[in-house]
């Protein structure tokens, strides 16, 4: 369980987050929505232990977050830059397995297994910059999933993709979430996406000093479908509710 209690964050004098209190139960897929520049990435980086100081308390399974916790994975907003271009796709994906102390051939096998799962079997020996944007994004997701993290943080992972790729990856994420049962915090600025993916949607106010303005459970059937789910009346109602919260100043 991830708990944030009155969490604040600032860069120098610039207050970014203010008084964020939030409990994410195990296995929940939480979507965080907010206008550009409100502090969504900052929130994720704080939870990931990448910003050494913050106000308030953050605990993961009861342990305060000081530094990067174990069993955590992050998909960064700038995913293409986050891959190491001098390593092949397989080497990139196998890199997180080093901390588990697996022998080389098991690391390879594990990387290939996860690459197959995201549909990238044939690209294992290529380099990230030889792939399309959507494929690079899947490499970044594979690298995050390979260690079977119990907490997965994703920062606008589908932001710059075409509609088709995006829908495919959304469904891939839902499937992974169903089978692996990780807790996922998913940042997006797309209101539709947040309702389609989330078990719950949290809306942040525009910065500076962003705080939570809406915390909404998404009561939609667990098995979701791009066409039918988006056509449900409940979906439309939830979407307008989130939309109103995002636009409110």
């Amino acid at each position: 369980m991830l708990r944030l209690d009155e969490v604040g964050q600032h860069y120098g004098d610039h207050q970014v987050l203010h008084d964020i209190t939030l409990t994410v139960p195990d296995g929940q897929l939480l979507c965080v929505v907010g206008p550009s520049g409100c502090g969504k990435s900052t929130l994720l980086r704080t939870v990931a232990g990448l910003l050494p100081t913050y106000d308030g308390t953050i605990t993961l399974d009861g342990t305060p977050v000081r530094g990067v916790p174990d069993n955590l994975a992050v998909v960064f907003q700038d995913y293409a830059r986050s891959l190491y271009p001098w390593l092949t796709v397989r080497e990139n994906v196998a890199l997180p397995l080093r901390r588990r102390g697996l022998p080389r051939n098991e690391r390879r096998a594990e990387a290939d297994r996860i690459l197959a799962r995201v549909g990238l079997t044939d690209t294992a020996r290529r380099h990230p910059w030889q792939l399309s944007g959507g494929m690079q994004q899947r490499v970044a997701i594979a690298r995050a999933l390979v260690c079977r993290p119990s907490l997965l943080l994703m920062d606008e992972p589908f932001g710059s993709l075409d509609a088709q790729t995006r829908e495919d990856l959304e469904d891939l994420l839902l499937e992974v979430h169903r089978t692996d049962g990780a807790t996922i915090v998913f940042v997006t600025h797309d209101i539709d996406e947040s309702v389609y993916l989330g078990d719950r949607v949290v809306v942040l106010s525009p910065g500076p000093a962003a705080k939570i303005v809406l915390d909404l459970p998404v009561e939609l059937p667990d098995t979701r479908d791009q066409i039918t789910t988006r056509g449900l009346t409940e979906f439309v109602t939830l979407r307008s509710e989130v939309g109103r919260a995002v636009r409110k100043r």
Partner: protein, 261 residues
């Protein structure tokens, strides 16, 4: 396109040699012997030995190999120490700020000016020669490595933190590969400095062998043909060594790098 470019480069060189040959042949000056004569002399002097010595003559074994050995030792030590120190300095903002003035100063000193210092400390001989090469060649690789290591993409450092890489893994998978283009830029400069200092340290009195020694020795005997042969040899060595280094660089970083830096 690449083939045409290479052809063009060699054409200019060949033309220059031909012109030199014609002019020198026409004038018959002892100071500027024609290239054919120089090449023939160099062949006689160094490359007409027995087959079991890969055609190296005694003069070649006695002069070229010791020179190359000292240069390899000096360049090798400078490269390893320069990369190690460069990474250490570049990875810490504070250490970098402290060391920067010293480095700028050390880089500004013309390398041959250091040689007298080592002559006093170490006396004439191989240790002095190697020390002269090391202390001249270390700066470009050290400074470039430090700058390369300092400019590691902060996002990729965050990735390493999230992946919980150990310091050694960080070095191996992130900092060294990302600094590699800068490291090689430094190594190329260091290599040509090594060659310069190799010759320069052999020009001093008290040296008993080496290409630089051949040069001063031939000059004292007014043997200009040997002087010219030694110069051509040095040019060829410099070209070959640089080509070798470029090939290593291409192998190491050809793959991981196109538009994404």
């Amino acid at each position: 396109m690449a083939v045409r470019h290479a052809l063009l480069r060699w054409t200019v060189l060949v033309l220059a040699v031909v012109v030199w040959q014609l002019v020198a042949g026409a004038h018959g000056s002892v100071y500027f012997p024609p290239p054919v004569e120089i090449a023939g002399h160099a062949l006689d002097l160094w490359f007409s030995g027995p087959a079991r010595h890969v055609f190296l003559t005694e003069a070649a074994v006695g002069d070229i190999l010791p020179s190359l050995g000292r240069m390899a030792a000096g360049f090798g030590i400078a490269a390893v120490a320069g990369i190690a120190l460069g990474v250490a300095i570049g990875r810490s903002r504070r250490v970098y700020a402290l060391c920067d003035p010293v480095l700028q100063f050390a880089r500004a000193v013309p390398p041959p000016a250091l040689v007298p210092v080592f002559v006093v400390i170490l006396d004439f001989g191989t240790p002095m020669q190697i020390a002269s090469i090391v202390f001249s060649a270390i700066w470009p690789v050290l400074i470039n490595t430090a700058e390369g290591a300092r400019d590691t993409d902060p996002l990729r450092i965050e990735v390493a933190a999230v992946l919980r890489l150990t310091p050694v893994e960080r070095l191996r998978f992130l900092i060294l590969p990302s600094a590699l283009p800068r490291i090689f830029a430094g190594l190329r400069l260091s290599l040509s400095l090594s060659l310069i200092l190799m010759v320069f340290s052999e020009l001093l009195p008290g040296t008993a062998n080496g290409i630089g020694f051949t040069l001063t020795d031939a000059q004292s005997r007014s043997d200009l043909l040997t002087v010219w042969s030694a110069l051509v040899l040095l040019g060829a060595l410099g070209y070959l060594l640089n080509t070798g280094l470029l090939a290593v660089e291409k192998r190491l970083i050809g793959k991981g790098r196109t538009t994404t830096v």
